[in-house]
Amino acid sequence: MPAGFSAADFLYILPELVLIGGAMLLLSLSVLVPRRDGLLLWTALATVAVTLVLVVRFFGLDVTAARGLLAIDSFAAFFKVIVLLSAALTLLMSAPYLRVEGIRVGEYYFLILCATVGMMFMASGVELITLFIGLETMAVSFYVLVGFLKPNPRSNEAAVKYFLLGGFSLGILLYGMSLIYGVTGTTSLAGIAAALRGQDTSLVLVLAVILVGAGMGFKIAAVPFHMWAPDVYEGAPTPVTAFLSVGSKAASFAMLLRIFVVGLPALAQEWSLLFYVLAVISMTVGNIAALTQSNLKRMLAYSSIAHVGYLLIGVVVRTERGVAAMLLYLGVYLFMQLGAFAIVTAQRRSDIIGDELKDLSGLSKRNPLAAFAMGFFMLSLGGIPPTAGFMGKMWLFGAAIDAGFIWLAVIAVANSALSIYYYIRVVVFMWINQEEPVGSPIVIGPAMKVALGVALLGTVVLGIYPQFLFEQAEVAARTLQGITAATVVGGQ
């Protein structure tokens, strides 16, 4: 057995190394050249951009690196692109917000990049310990980021809640993993699948599935593990909320798919049923709770819980098409959710917090461009054609019907119809409600313009031409399935 790593291994983890190096550089720069916020932002963005370029090159590969701990395949590359894009957009929308709130930017950018590193290991890990360490790195970064508004008691409360509940859920997840290890004697997902092949389902494993499902359910904020989400989303700095609702969810979905589809195909019946229930109650509870919210961030929190319900359809269906549709929807969700949060971030000015629904009144008069963008993101989140949200939902629900989950698709469609009410309400506030304008006029700086432009472009282009992304998603889904070789028989 040769010791150490080969040169190829270093090549495969080069993107992560670049990101970690960039994070260290940021930390040093923030001490060596203080008060140069622009320089720090550019360093962070450049690091993410270089990492993105390096990651894209791995698309189409299908190898395991680092002694079978990491999979360098299209599935990992797909998710890494999603988390890197969401990190980049978060960085772009952060700068003016940080200035208003008086936040030190060096540590903030450092933690964003470190959270991204954790997410990338969650996307490519194929071994329980690696996945867990990645998850923990992401989670600890977020505990701190959520509490970054130190004078704000809501932010403190959010950080403490997220930390305590997060720690508790990680314990549950770890307990489930230890049961899996106890039964199979290995932490490698491929090894677990091999050890369970042809075995009878034992009660211990069912318990493990429930525990791991609960732990991951907390991370993606699926009902009934969603209690923390509205409070944390409301209290956290808005760009952090955006990153939390897109990046951390995408990475957790990658980890969830890997563990269950690759590692536990033997218990597919059990976990499929579990996620069926979670999907139905997530979308229903999320949408009903969102109807009555008057705070934009809380509303978007409940809306993101509902979207987790939709996304879980892909896990329940567990066909290649279902997983591909889910990946496509994650790509769409990235743009529309981050776009909506970019507008909420821009609403924060020196004299107003601006995250209440009524703060949007008359936005169409004051800043028509921002109002148009926000309206478009809302329509997309609601799934109205010709936006990307519609295309994503169509593929996703189509995949459910295709696999024989008719009722799941019916419930999802009914829920989408219900959700349109509260998305349209935002549009009504911006165009029809013409109360006296609150706060100083909104200024959208150049970085924010780029973020909004990218989000808007993504939402429009994917609405008209989703095939490109869907093809990539199919390639990615196929590499995931390829590891277990045709896991799936549709239907219930």
Binding site: M1, I20, L27, E107, F110, C114, V117
Partner: protein, 171 residues
């Protein structure tokens, strides 16, 4: 046979102490029950021939983490019983006894791990080029599990930066 009895006795002790941790009204007692709980877990590790884990369990959990717990409990002064202060000598004796127990346990672990016959190596250990519990763990950490080991260092750095950012009044 003996191992089974030891295992179940220890398990019962661990469960009982765990219940005691969350049921005693006095916070300091609760933390002390936690120490005993951790020590019993360490003994289980020794029985399972994982001496390295046992030492770590005593040093990190029973030692470091519980001391932090006690600091916090005493700093925030959670409605302590007034009679707990009446006899300071008794408390110091308890402290001495606990310290002695930890020392004894550590010594026991060391003696046990050096005196026992090497057991039949399990499959994974057989493939390893090094002998001994600690050596094998080190070997695994720096070869097969190098990636999570290194990522854990990033995790620790994040925790450190985070603690400073959150705790410092104004940077």
């Amino acid at each position: 046979m003996v191992e089974t009895i030891v295992f179940y006795t220890l398990s019962a002790l661990i469960l009982g102490l765990g219940v005691a941790v969350i049921t005693t009204p006095n916070t300091v007692h609760s933390v002390l029950f936690l120490v005993m709980n951790f020590l019993c877990v360490a003994v289980i590790y020794v029985v399972l021939e994982a001496e390295f884990l046992a030492v770590i369990q005593v040093l990190v959990y029973a030692g470091g983490i519980v001391v932090l717990y006690l600091f916090v409990v005493m700093l925030v002064n959670l409605k302590r019983d007034p009679e707990a202060h009446q006899d300071p000598r008794r408390l110091s004796l308890v402290g001495l006894a606990l310290a002695g127990a930890v020392l004894l346990e550590l010594a026991g672990i060391v003696v046990y791990s050096y005196s026992r016959e090497p057991s039949a190596p399990v499959a994974a250990a057989a493939a390893s080029p090094v002998q001994g519990n600690v050596e094998q763990i080190g070997w695994l950490l720096y070869t097969d599990y190098l990636i999570p080991f290194e990522v854990a260092s990033v995790l620790l750095l994040v925790a450190m930066v985070g603690a400073i950012v959150l705790a410092k009044r104004e940077l």
